[in-house]
Amino acid sequence: MSGDAVQHPRARGGQAPDVFRKGGWVSMREYPCDEEVDFVIVGTGAGGATLACRLAEQGFKVVALDAGAWWRPLEEFASDEAHQQKLYWTDQRICDGDNPLKMGSNNSGKAVGGSTVHFAMVSLRFRPEWFKCRSLLGYGADWPIDWREMWRYYDEVEQALSIAGPITYPWGPPRKRYPYRSHELNAAALVLARGAEAMGTAWSATPLATVSAPHGKSPPCVYRGFCVAGCATNAKQSALVTWIPRALKAGAEIRDLAMAGRIETNDLGRAVGVEYFRDGAWRFQRARNVVVAGYAIETPRLLLLSANHRFPDGLANSSGLVGKNLMVQSNQAVWGVMDEEIRSYKGPPSLSISEHWNYQDKGKDFFGGYAYMSQGPLPVGWASTQNGRGLWGAKLSREMQKYNHQAGLKIVGETLPQERNRVTLADEKDQYGLPVARITYGFCDNDKKLIAHALHFMEQALEAAGGKEIWRQEDDTCHLNGTARMGDDPRTSVVNADCRSWDIPNLWICDGSVFPTIGGVNPSLTIQAIACRTADRIRALAQRGEL
């Protein structure tokens, strides 16, 4: 059953899987490859799926391609960490630099719905100042978008995903209450709360994209705790169960198991379509506009793979910045053992949060901020964390016996954009015959200072909450952004505020690649907000005849 999804495309013959009914199908409009559609979108994650939905709802002809499978969560998502690795991008990538990254589970999805199928659902807004952090805070780069405009799009996405969150959020400018009530806090979340209160700082229930009451065909979360291995009940508001069904209804076609290999351009320097591999053959979809939404590794990879006579350094790359300024988020933690039973495997992994150090600038010897959240690792992930501190054999077994008593605080930390952190093409080829991505990454001094500050603060907080045998996990990273940044100046950015390439006017990039800075919050809500804004901008441009 599972093998089938990765071997044969499911979306064909005028229908696509209905993710809400076992064995069910919904009708899907189909376009012939030789029809020039309005938009072909590469990738159906937080950026691509959102944009596909919004453009189709505006009446555009949309075809979206995804390299991954179209899973049926109700039948095919096992409660099993190892099996669910099928959701991750496990094709080869080569990592080097001072701090070689670990890819896959924590940052890369390969499925219709992208990484949102296995994300931890944490749905946070940027701090307003971050959109002008060069001018206002003195680091990174300014975004070409005003925070008040983003605030409206955040509202839209939070409504669309029925985000469950608190009535009042302790940080940032006033906002409406979240659409759904926040989830009950588990014991691990209450450890964070105790620690924050002891330190005299605010804490909150985490705004999460899993419903706390029924919504449409989604039942409320049952707290099974396998969120990052895929939600088997559809409580999680991933792109697979939100934007994609809407997109289909509005007439978009979505092709699963469709790996894009090249964007073609014509003599006028405009994009004319995408070459992609599906069902055993390379095919070509013609389009008036091409959108790349493959996330911070696959997006620059595709742009670089598409180099041709006219664009020898890759598409949209006159600035030389495609692939550069890759930013991870630091993901360090402190862990401790509590007297009481915690059993943090129950419920979403990060039910409580402190954004104190995203909003408080005093007392920092570094630029940027971080949030920290409660944790709920499952056994394979937890053993891997213990391996990271060098434990094995009897020592590891003894530590693993404390599984149900451990609690942790983990950051999502900002790192600075650096051009030396980048995605390039390696000599090695993947199963499609395409050069794989080489990912070069190293923390700068500012990143290290931020991490040191966070570990010190969280250690005190965990101790104040009653944690014993506290230790630091110093080596982890998570979300990826940058590599095709937006800006006001074609010399220093790849796309403009509308996610439109400076070099090729009918080529767009709509995912986390466009972030000039990354902030200290999980990026998915911002990616979706930008996609909604881009859709509105495209409509406005089309109405003025400027598309």
Binding site: M1, D80, N186, G347, M400, N404
Partner: protein, 218 residues
Amino acid sequence: MNSNAITTRYPGYDVLNKRDTPSWDPITRQVVEERLSMSRQPRFFDLAQWTAATALCTCVVVQPDDRLAVPVAAMLDARLFEDQGDGWRDARLPPLRQAWCIGLAALDAESQGEHGLVFAQLAAARQTALVEQMQCGKLRAAAWQGMPSDLFFSERVLHDLYGAYYAHPAAWSEIGFGGPANPRGYVRLNKNRRDPWEAIEATAENAATVKRKNTRVR
């Protein structure tokens, strides 16, 4: 080697007892059953590699001696047979299969060089000492072909062996993990609260009673 194996805090608890309860759905039953019934004969390793891999697994992954051992080496072999990658590779390491072939051969070569015996023939204490040297990156024989032994140990040995071990229901039971949880999920989320389908933690005083109760948890 298992002389210092620890005893579980959850005596009598077996996550598999929940197989036919609302905590397990059909896909989960299928996936776990496939894992439990996997072949214990190697399909990827040759005899010398299989002998070394089996010895390495026994040395690195300590298991309780009061139950059947989780077949970690067979799970590793299955993974290599499928060539199931993680989605990244440290540039200093060769691809998955090659790394294991080089690493196991190098371990035997180091062992031969120091003791005149292959790794599997060494006494447990000497195996452990050799593995500790690998962890520190001190093994540098030509047989490593330039692959850093400490990186092979952290990124392949620990990652692959423990990734296999903690994917096994016996390991879930050992640490008191609730295991599969669809569609039932959980109700009691606060500290010191357990649902009736979760393991009970024993103390030295009540182990016998808890063991009896845990056998009924489902």
